[in-house]
Amino acid sequence: MAAEISNDSPSDEILQGSEPGASRNSMLLATDSYDDLASYLSDTNLSSDRDRLSSGSISEITHPTETESFDPKSVISEEVGPEVVENEINEQLENSLDVSASPVDEPAALATSDSDTVTERIGLDTPTSQLSELSTDHSQPEACTGNNSDEQEEEVEYVHSQEWRQHRKHVFILSQSGKPIYSRHGDEDRLVTLMGVMQALVSVIGDGQDLLRCITAGSHKMVFLIRENLVLVAAARSIESMPQLLLQLTYVYNQVLSVLTLSQLSRIFKQRRNYDLRRLLTGAEKFFDNLLNTMDRDPCFFLGAVRCLPLESSMRDTIAQSIAQNAKVKDLVFAILIADNQLITLVRMKKYFLHPLDLHLIFNLVSASESFKAAESWTPICLPKFDSGGYLHAHISYMDEECRSCLLLLTVDRDVFFTLSECKEKIRERLVKYKCLAAIAESVDQNGYKTSQVGIPELRHFLYKSRSAAQFSCPEYEAPYHTADQRDRLFGLYQFLHHRIHSSSRPLKILFHVGSHETLLGWVTSGFELYAVFGPLVTKSAAINSVNKLLKWIKKEEDRFFILNSPTF
């Protein structure tokens, strides 16, 4: 494998604002997926983190004029008003600052020399005596301190079992006191000791005024995300980089918030540090499972962008109009129509924008839940980027018998189910009348577009992200990437390319990489990100010519692939 890196931009650099999919008026917040990570990694002030976390606030909508007082009836988070919550969180953050505001080395440098021994302990043997030595925390998980040896032996055996060990990526969630909350593979009850070790590691490093970020052991990476109340750990042997794994953990953490809200989470652990959070998460495991499985094959997460269902722009406008005109309800914040994990349209309340991360969680909610297919539903959902302090209420219903397109109406008023149900019926009638549902069905069945349509023979596949629109487009996965194995491999190539370009130590504008099976070209400007895959024999100049041609083609099709306007109610 030979990598050739060039900092020269291809000949005719496209002016920002005229790149394909450029949007001056985006309905999505255009942020880089790594923005938040950068703040976490550079270990900045956590309270400013909270500010950047919210793109809107529920209290602002419920009390547009006076934010000081609140009417308990319209408050979203049950007993506590948003303002109170805010103070509570800030207090907590300030408290936690002492612990975490410590100088931390470059993440890569944390792969310390003694990490091997630590990993061996995790992977191979974890006697309890070592555990208690390691841990300085008083509230250790019960099962670690004293339980019968039979159970523990069984547990250790389980961790050693081939079946459990062969998984490529493990993800764990535990409480700050080391109580197991979730394990991607296997029953978390049988991983009490292992999670105890993880908690101990975090705690020992934390005692030295440091933050544990990553342990590298051979081909394994263990990445830690430490939040106020939770510790999230990914253990993977894969091509994924540390920031990419950290980003995935951030998604998982946000999924927890989406189910519980940050205010509820903080309150619970404030009351009882040792609380078994699984009690509140029953039935939510499927959200974590589905999210993690999707993150292993969908580039939308590391791109921090949303894919739109290709539609003629006139058709998309009709759909948006049908929704905007029939959902004029006070306090309705977002109306979102999706199909097959792709966005069809998003109508929003003026002033408010949706963050792609929140939209990904909405996609996950819909794709992980079979129950919405049976009847229209009404469910609380927290969008952590929008407002992590409270719930929005979502009216969720499928528009057609085949359950292709799903409409979500998100409001801050929890008593308007029936009003929204009527809106939904009117919207559905319009969508049927103007043959929108038929157009959506056709596009879903067509499964996007083919690479061959671009007319560049040597081009095999590509990902194109418009940064200003926070949207991306890619063709169907065709041969040689039609099998699951090959598709996984291609996904790994994209992750590799993305990581090299976004590497914090040496960010690149353009990367030409010749591999044994294909040639990769990554190109990032202030307006777009393009990752293209060619056959192995393509030369650099031919590849650059091709991507210029590709950009012209996407530009021509941009109205179909991207949502460039931003309808409001």
């Binding site: 009847a375 229209e376 609380p380």
Partner: protein
């Protein structure tokens, strides 16, 4: 079938621990069938459906909320039972834990529900009681006497066989009509 809220005469709400069979009851209600191939799905939030009943030549539209049993939705549950004419509190006949939760729910409705909200105590999965390996954990007499104490009706159902399910919904519709008749009489 979609029925607007204006046309709905009464709202009822299914409450109870997760896995106690509420969604299966709701399916029976909407589609009048049980799908044995359907995997267990946890309800997210709450699902709503409405259906028509004929009682004494009167047409009654009944809206049914199928709520999620998970504890995290508990703080939200009054949104669903607010304005409900009746609460159907479900428990599995073969699970003591769900019985305890049902008693908790009944209390919840009595203290926080609308005044006069009727309670129906529903023992579910009655077909399993006769199967080997899943013995009955709550005796009929125990449940019945508790129901009498809180002035609730007690019914044992099976969504799988359909035992008592349709009867239960019809009974609720009839009770509602009788209740309304009594109220109008009282007013006159």
């Amino acid at each position: 079938m979609m029925v607007g809220p204006d046309k709905v005469d009464l709202k009822v709400v299914l409450l109870g621990r997760e896995y106690s069979g509420k969604t299966a009851l709701a399916h029976r209600y909407l589609l009048q069938k049980f799908n044995p191939h359907m995997n267990y799905q946890t309800t997210v939030g709450a699902a709503y459906g409405a259906r028509k009943f004929e009682v004494d030549k009167q047409t009654i539209f009944m809206g049914l909320w199928d709520t999620a049993g998970s504890e995290r939705y508990e703080c939200m549950s009054h949104v669903y039972y607010h304005g409900a004419w009746a609460a159907l509190v479900c428990f599995e006949l073969i699970d003591r834990e769900s019985w305890l939760r049902a008693r908790h729910w009944a209390n919840e409705v009595m203290t926080r529900g609308d005044e006069g909200c009727k309670i129906y105590l529903i023992g579910t999965k009655a077909d399993l009681v006769t199967e080997p390996g899943t013995p009955r954990k709550i005796e009929y007499a125990t449940a019945k006497s508790y129901a009498d104490d809180i002035r609730a009706k007690y019914i044992e159902t099976s969504s799988k066989t359909g035992q008592n399910v349709e009867e239960m919904y019809c009974m609720i519709a009839e009770d509602y009509v009788a209740d309304m008749a009594k109220k109008t009489k009282g007013e006159n």
